[in-house]
Symmetry: D2
Subunit: 305 residues, 4 copies
């Protein structure tokens, strides 16, 4: 079944809030989402930041100990303009270099969105870049489920429940997996980026309102330790923590467990395969928790499991 | 001019050691190199670890304040077998998971090298991977120049002078740039890997003896702050430090400076371009210093500079 | 006014939960608290971990933008026995050393409490330490206020709102200051330690039930950036984050602001005074967020402000 | 035997340089030392930074696998004025706060030294601190031995061989222990601070020329893993690394080994004793490697070993 949903209120935390919609296992939801600052498709600010979320969506049958699979079907950009911060964040450069940076809270950058052409073009500010045109790569910056212990965690940050991961590998066609910690899983999504470099090092992607389309599936009695994902070429595990070392440790540990549990490998096979084949991507290194992604090419897994 | 060289002794530090060969600006050197443990093409251990280096090669005219460009022309594997450690390193997994890992100093993994087919095949140990065959991707794990202050720094680690970066993007066709800190630059190279996953998370690539071919060029009066590189698609800056956050800060800062100095960007243009276009790669997160690489696609730089 | 309170339910998050008691500015509360695992004064487990909190206590007049001062008057230990974990945590030792450690979840250590003598004596397990007797130093491991944005954050961790700081400098006689982010401040306390080494490196102090006595005072229109404290000899600022570097940065920044706002110093005076006089203490380096404390001796502040 | 020595040249690296003096096991050396920038007792700059070292001193009989004990007998300040940097370092504050800091390379602070009174008094710059007078606490900022592998490591940084630890607990009366990695140990010392706050957070102590008096003793066939020390009240282990977490891990691991090897404890006794009794001090968090010190009060060790 397909549900079309338009939020009347938004959340700045991922937590066990009253569900806005209840769906069955396997249903598809199409929901509008505001941008990171609460701007809607008309450019009106209808919610306050950080990263107002659409949801929570309650999935029947999802319970702690299960995994929620989220098939990202489409991230449609619903406005002709996106915005950015325009200066590198102070924490992504060497400390002494931070002193050389100008104020990063000046006027926002303005980018035109051409979904037909698949490009986004810089309009403001005027710099040596001129009207730089870049390929679109729409992604949700922040999505996830209610965390454990009844916690409610700010959408500025992320954790094992997902959240503000700002990973540009979460695009249409990807399935993301989240550990269910609350009845109904309670899924949230929003904060679309028309495009974003690795690391979100200026503190934003190209921030824009969106319409997200995704299916929610429950995998019963499957415990995972952190967010996972899968696309046509890779499986991947997502570590959300500070510093990057710890984010990488979480992602690496989760991939090791995945390969042992589902692909029949022991520690030696894991060490040999991961040691020579693994790839890492950087989600964000701007938010309170950073994001590192440990990826395994499926081509090397074909004869296993 | 092309120099063919066979070392009679090797160094375990990058420092201001007596040069083994003196070459002119632009010359090409073809040198044999032992593997990380000192094993030569016959498999005989003729040097002791860590990472015995061929060199130092003195380049006429190179002086502190210059940059040394190293055109990697070929990394030829000179042995039919490479070796690996077979268990994830304790520092790349969550601390509690480290306790579950078996001893990583058991028998080494053995990999057959088929340069004609371009593959490497796992022979030992016997695991669920069977005789896993992987594409070759030859790279020098450790190379660089004499560091500042007359220091001599272990080939286990890395810094602004290069060293044990273990970055699998340093392949034939790449030009690497090093800040010259000693007369003649004093270039060292060795520690070939037939292949290596991102992060060198089992503590080795597929370690093997090699013949390295490269040209050394001096760029006079060009000061760079850390290792840089360039291939057909990207320019990149390399940060070597702990933790990963700091390695990433160094790489990011160096890319910002590069774009400002050579491409005419100001801080706003840098923030806009890097924020939405930059890519990061992980070199190693095993050695005493970790390695993060900040990359900019050349396609976005075409109209600049 | 003095309120004596006995909780009927406990919270595992610091958040905007319904208040259990409403008090006036300046009132004193005496509340019973269970230990970190929910054990009460009789040793019965009446709540589940982590760190069940007594509270929240609503203070009339406290509003976002204010500071809550908490005068710790007494931490009375209400059981003859406390318990500990007995093995160093894996994350406080070098990663390769973690592999040598035994299972840390074996039988708990048992310590006798003698409040008259002011000592605690090791009863179990039997080791070369015999019946080691140590001075008591009672402290609340976890206390704080509701965080911003309506978040509810696990008592396993800490942040600018306080929480599980496990700092052994929070003893009777100290005043702690918290930034108010919710109406009434909503103060929580519990998790007494009869004693604890710096860093909480075995993962626990000597965990015990308690009766906490404290006064709550509202400082109107005083914004602080993180937890602060004061005792007879020092003022101090508390950074809660990972890694320790960032915890130290937060504490140092807060101390700098404090000296500038309340003692009339500029950046040069701050640099001179802090550079030559500051002291750091380590709270915990076990929990999800670590704690570093930046302290300034009051003797050097006498002629200022 | 007592040797009085005045260097004619200084080193900016700790490495296997030609010894300037050869002494017997147990001998005492009194050597003059320049300050961190090479200033001598007259205020003349006779060496260049960073941290020019007196030495190396060769101790007969010291060989790799031994430990060098250094009894710090006196650190005499030999100039009437010391100097400081006057602004917090950018890396010790939150990244966004670094932008608020003024240039830290302006005129140096000037401090009068009164060894008779035991105080140091701020003369320049003029701030709200006025002529702040502080107690003297003389210490060598940088000292240690030649590192392993024939390395030569900058005196800006530190490691298992010692170096620029900037720990204000290294005062007269302390014995420091270093792992010997080269024949004769090759001991270096210099970089006196008249006083320094924890963390060396403005980037300097009160920098001054000095006369250091110390005895060098060889402990044969005693392998230690990093710098250790001992005073009248504590034994301590010193971790030098980045980030602070890793410095603390090294110090903690070394203390655990010490207690097991010399005091007869097993992992449980270590966990119980260290968990409830250990103290941490911060050396520097300014240099390329940071320093954390893990201390155990001797009072709890009396009945052991």
């Amino acid at each position: 079944m397909i549900h079309t949903f338009n939020p009347t209120h938004y959340f700045n935390t991922l937590g066990s809030h009253p569900p806005v919609l209840r769906v069955s296992d396997g249903d598809t939801i199409i929901t509008s989402c505001v941008d990171a600052a609460g701007g809607d498709a008309k450019g009106d600010k209808i919610a306050s930041g950080p990263n107002p979320m659409s949801g929570p969506f309650f999935v029947d049958g999802a319970a702690p100990g299960d995994t929620l699979a989220v098939d990202l079907k489409a991230i449609r950009l619903t406005r002709a303009h996106g915005w950015t911060r325009n200066v590198l964040a102070q924490n992504v450069v060497e400390p002494h270099y931070a002193q050389e940076l100008p104020d990063r809270y000046g006027p926002k950058g303005v980018w035109q969105i051409d979904t037909a052409a698949g490009t986004t073009t810089l309009l403001e500010p005027k710099t040596a870049l001129g009207n730089l045109a870049l390929p679109l790569n729409p992604m949700p910056g922040c999505f996830g489920v209610a965390p454990a212990l009844g916690q409610a965690i700010s959408t500025e940050t992320s954790g094992r429940h997902g959240g503000n991961m700002d990973y540009n590998g979460f695009v249409a066609g990807v399935t993301a997996y989240f550990p269910v910690e609350a009845e109904g899983a309670l899924f949230f999504i929003g904060d679309a980026h028309a495009r974003q470099g690795d690391g979100e090092i200026s503190g934003t992607g190209i921030e824009i309102s969106s319409e997200m389309e995704f299916a929610l599936r429950v995998i019963k009695n499957k415990r995972i330790g952190t967010v996972r994902g899968e696309n046509s070429t890779h499986i991947f595990a997502v570590g959300n923590a500070r510093p990057l070392d710890e984010a990488a440790q979480i992602a690496t540990t989760e991939m090791s467990r995945w390969l042992m549990e589902d692909y029949g490998l022991d520690h030696f096979a894991v060490g040999l395969l991961m040691g020579q084949c693994v790839e890492y991507n950087l989600g964000n290194m701007f938010d309170p928790a950073y994001t590192m992604v440990c990826k395994m090419p499926k081509q090397f897994l074909k004869k296993l499991g």
